[in-house]
Symmetry: C2
Subunit: 263 residues, 2 copies
């Protein structure tokens, strides 16, 4: 990729994850450069977005962008940090140096799997954090939930080939904190509505935009099944989305497990 330079074109894919395959199929063939900012997993295949693009365009060099980046804040120049990851270090650093600005710090990573899984799975957990607030639980409850959620995200990610350290970074716990704390997050708002006892369809309608965590919860449970990973929180959130249990039952279930060591 020695021909990568300032004049080469870069395709940025930032559509909802369920549209990424279709969009990728419309891109030119050959050795194109793609940066994917969509956060999710394909619901039918449980594949990451860079995998979907590479399948649709086998010649493409693909990097993923992920981090605690509420779009409205980035657009308004609020100081933010993010991570760009690809298997091609030269391309990663090229993207990094071009996105870096006075208000956006960009870090590079080689762990595409971890960076993409963090961005996808935190949307599922943000629904759970919203549920906790919707049930009028406290900051203690939400913090404990996010901790155990981080642990689930990490163990599932490691089973799938990610580095554990990535989940402690911006694209893991960083994005989880921003998404789970913010009224701007659609996933958090859908979860909050569910916690308040509102039906899923009405909750999605009220948010009025895509809540990626809903379809991603199906893919997350599928990945957990394939790798025999224990993900009780993600499973409980998924069950609440499917309507097979109520949020209050999920919390009771999780608080009543037997005493044990933390690690």
């Amino acid at each position: 990729v020695s021909e990568i330079d300032d004049t080469c074109s870069l395709w940025v894919v930032a559509v909802p994850s369920n549209a990424v395959r279709e969009v990728a199929e419309r891109l030119p063939s050959g050795e194109i450069r793609v940066l994917v900012a969509s956060k999710g997993l394909e619901v039918t295949t449980a594949k990451r977005m860079s995998e979907v693009i590479s399948e649709a365009r086998p010649g493409a060099i693909v990097a993923a962008l992920s981090g605690p980046n509420l779009a409205l804040e980035v657009a308004n120049g609020v100081p933010s940090a993010t991570v760009v990851a690809s298997a091609n270090q030269e391309f990663t650093e090229w993207v990094r140096d071009r996105l870096m600005s006075r208000s956006l710090r960009v870090y590079s990573s080689r762990d595409v799997i971890g960076v993409e899984l963090g961005g996808a799975l935190k949307n599922v957990l943000a629904i759970g954090a919203g549920m906790s607030d919707g049930l009028a639980f406290g900051d203690n409850t939400k913090a404990a939930f996010l901790c155990r959620g981080l642990s689930e995200m990490t163990s599932l990610g490691v089973q799938l080939g990610a580095d554990a350290s990535t989940f402690v970074g911006l694209s893991g716990i960083g994005d989880l904190i921003a998404t789970a704390a913010s009224r701007l997050s659609r996933n958090y708002r859908v979860g909050r509505a569910l916690g308040e006892g509102i039906e899923l369809d009405r909750a999605l309608n009220e948010v009025g935009q895509v809540a990626e965590g809903v379809p991603t919860s199906f893919a997350a449970v599928e990945l957990a099944n394939r790798t025999a990973s224990e993900v009780p929180l993600m499973r409980a959130i998924h069950d609440c989305i499917r309507g097979t249990i109520r949020p209050i039952e999920a919390v009771g279930m999780l608080m009543e497990r037997a005493p044990r060591a933390e690690f």
Copy 2:
């Protein structure tokens, strides 16, 4: 400690950290059992609370309690989780089983150093999170700050003998999230006031209670100096507390470092 049973007495020390040594010196001598819930470092020695108690009462068996436990919420029965740690596993489990209740889940740990450092250092970082909000930055900024803060806390802790994994748990990132997100946190509120340009004395006065992060910032910088650990965020917070730089300068400084890999 085979004589530990339901009838033995337990001393619970939960005073501000600057009073722990004095309180410990008033405890009986001999093989007493102590649970310390104070979160901080002794400002003159940079010692952890269990170290201070063991110095004052060499025969004592000491466990530390730490986690995302805003007191008002625990008192109100809000679902919460916490960690108890000591070098004596039998004692740890004895304490754990007695504190466990319908609304409080208690995990056990052997990493006293990590559990105590998490509880102490998060108060310093919560001041920084408050500053970020006081400067009217966004959720993106605060999430990025907490991520890098977690990384500082972990590397300093590991230098001091803690397990890295403890900082990803309830007493590390868990407590950091709860403290940095909550209007109930005194440290967060002091930081917020500093970010708004209020002087430290007036900020402390307005909060009207002890903000442990202020004295702990001195001890944290001392520990970083001793171990040659890089803690730019904690140092910047400490400098804002001492009044040698202003919060807005600290943020500018941290955003302008050279591009690099995340890990």
